[in-house]
Amino acid sequence: MKIEFWGQEFKANLWIGIPGAFLIAVLSSMFGFGGGPFMVPLMTVFMRLPMYVVVGSSLLAIFFNTLTGSLRHYGFGNFDLVFFLIMFPAAILGGFIGPRIAKRLSPIVVKRVAVVGLLILALSLLGVF
């Protein structure tokens, strides 16, 4: 598929894009996490699109994913209103605080800390410890 972005033309490989987006959506909605960290590499590395094309368009696709997933979870009775009302303000507040701290921290250090944290969490989920 050919797409145009700010006067430039790009070729998007949908043979990779569509199955990839589908798979990411299944996992993301199944486990309730955002698909961004997987969608961006899919579109930049595998579909070979430049970052400035990807940022906005991937968010749009992920928004569709979150909307559908949320409605389906609601339909299956997996949504807990009280729990949501507790966490929603916290998520909004986190969105305000995050960018303010981000300026003072090195992104590489943050990412390396995140890698260690994610591995610890992964191993405890897998029952290693």
Binding site: M1, W6, G17, P19, F22, I24, A25, V26, L27, S29, M30, F31, G32, F33, G34, G36, P37, M51, Y52, V53, G56, S57, S58, L59, L60, A61, I62, F63, F64, N65, T66, T68, G69, S70, R72, H73, F76, G77, N78, F79, D80, L81, V82, F83, I86, M87, A90, A91, I92, G94, I97, I101, A102, L105, A114, G117, L118, A122, L125, L126
Partner: protein, 408 residues
């Protein structure tokens, strides 16, 4: 429009307070008088945020007494039966689900059966509720969950693909319902010690004493206590009221009471860190909530909508500066809609163990991805890309501004 908001606010308040009004209803003091031979008493009728109750009574001499305790509040329990048929070897793929499982259930067996419970604990995840009940001689007294209505659906691969639960099968007979209720008990409560207890001393003359420790995260409302010797010989029902006060709130779908500051601060810290690391908070928040014991279905279904609004505002902001290629976004979005239609159905079908296993591997992949993003090669490329991105954004913002000014 104004009326709509009024209605929405009224609706919100109704939902928020309806549970409270319900909890404040006084329990009707039930009779503790002798009936059919078993006397049953409790040392306290009211609890606040759980606590210890001593149950005493008298049963006919020389008989084993069992005590069932369950909450008035119900939760959902579900299980996909994939165990091969012992005769044909075919997997049934029947999905069992009830919305009437007590949020709390315990069967206290006489102290002498402690070994049976210990044995089941040693079996790990493979222990069976029905085996414990049979070995502890409780088959005739196990009653309450068996009465709950269980729906069963014949699922197929196709049904999962279109995201349906499958065809609803006719209701089960009493015996089958009882057997399936035991499996659902295990699917919901998992461990031996939440479903069974052996803290029940029976004296020579038939008097008995049992101890019940209601955990602080248990549901508010009434708890029913019933002592039984067999199907016919039982005490009258004794009711105990458990009250919870703010900041503790009851999550009706999860079947648990939590201190609302707990999830609030956890979500705050995790989402803040999520912004910093450039991945949504769900990757960290969901596993922690699941490890804390909340049902994986409720965790996935409740965390997901929390980012809906921030994503919507992000899309709006990008669209203002024309930074979205709609053709690309909608094409991939349609593929994602299809995927998101199926995903939540799968959450329901898998067990907690499977949830943890797959999530664990997803986190390892994510960690690898993030590690790759800190390698020198990637950083150099990323720097260039970010510079181009910034340049484009600047141009886009300026263009949007100009247009706005031109429009005036």
């Amino acid at each position: 429009m104004k009326n709509f908001w009024k209605l929405a606010i009224i609706l919100m308040f109704t939902i928020a307070f309806s549970t409270n009004i319900y909890a404040e209803q006084q329990s009707v003091t039930s009779a503790e008088t002798q009936k059919e031979g078993i006397v049953l008493q409790v040392d306290r009728k009211e609890l606040s945020g759980g606590g210890k109750i001593t149950i005493t009574g008298k049963a006919p001499q020389g008989k084993d007494v069992y005590i069932e305790i369950w909450s008035e509040k119900n939760v959902r329990a579900a299980r996909l039966d994939t165990d091969p048929d012992p005769k044909t070897g075919k997997r049934p793929y029947i999905f069992y689900m009830t919305d009437e499982m007590p949020a709390f259930y315990t069967l206290i067996v006489p102290e002498k059966y402690k070994d049976i419970l210990d044995q089941a604990k040693k079996e790990g995840g493979k222990w069976s509720v029905s085996k414990v009940i049979k070995d502890a001689g409780a088959d005739a007294v196990y009653g309450e969950p068996a009465k709950r209505k269980i729906d069963r659906y014949q699922t197929t691969l196709w049904a999962s693909v279109i995201g349906s639960r499958g065809t609803l099968l006719p209701p089960m007979d009493e015996k089958d319902n009882k057997r399936r209720s035991m499996q659902l008990l295990k699917a919901k409560f998992r461990s031996v010690e939440t479903i069974f207890s052996s803290k029940l001393k029976i004296a020579q003359d038939g008097t008995f004493t049992a101890e019940l420790d209601l955990p602080s995260n248990t549901a508010p409302g009434k708890y029913f206590i019933l002592a039984k010797v067999d199907k016919e010989l039982k005490s009258s029902l004794v009711t105990v009221e458990n009250k919870i006060t703010l900041p503790n709130v009851y999550l009706s779908n999860a079947g648990r009471t939590v201190n609302l500051f707990g999830p609030f601060f956890l979500a705050l810290v995790v989402t803040t860190f999520g912004v910093l690391m450039g991945a949504g908070g769900g990757f960290i928040l969901n596993p922690i909530l699941v490890l804390l014991g909340l049902p994986h279905t409720v965790v996935a279904g409740t965390v997901m909508p929390t980012v809906l609004f921030s994503q919507a505002s992000g899309v709006y902001n990008y669209s203002k500066i024309k930074f979205i290629n709609w053709k690309l976004g909608i094409t991939l979005g349609l593929a994602m809609i299809l995927g998101a239609f199926i995903g939540p159905k799968l959450t329901e079908l898998i067990t907690l163990a499977q949830f943890k296993f797959i999530f664990g591997w997803i986190l390892i992949i994510l960690a690898a991805l993030m590690f790759w993003q800190t390698t020198p090669g990637y950083l150099e490329k990323h720097k260039k890309e970010q510079a181009i991105l910034k340049e484009f954004k600047k141009r886009a913002e300026e263009a949007a501004k100009k247009k706005a000014e031109g429009g005036k």
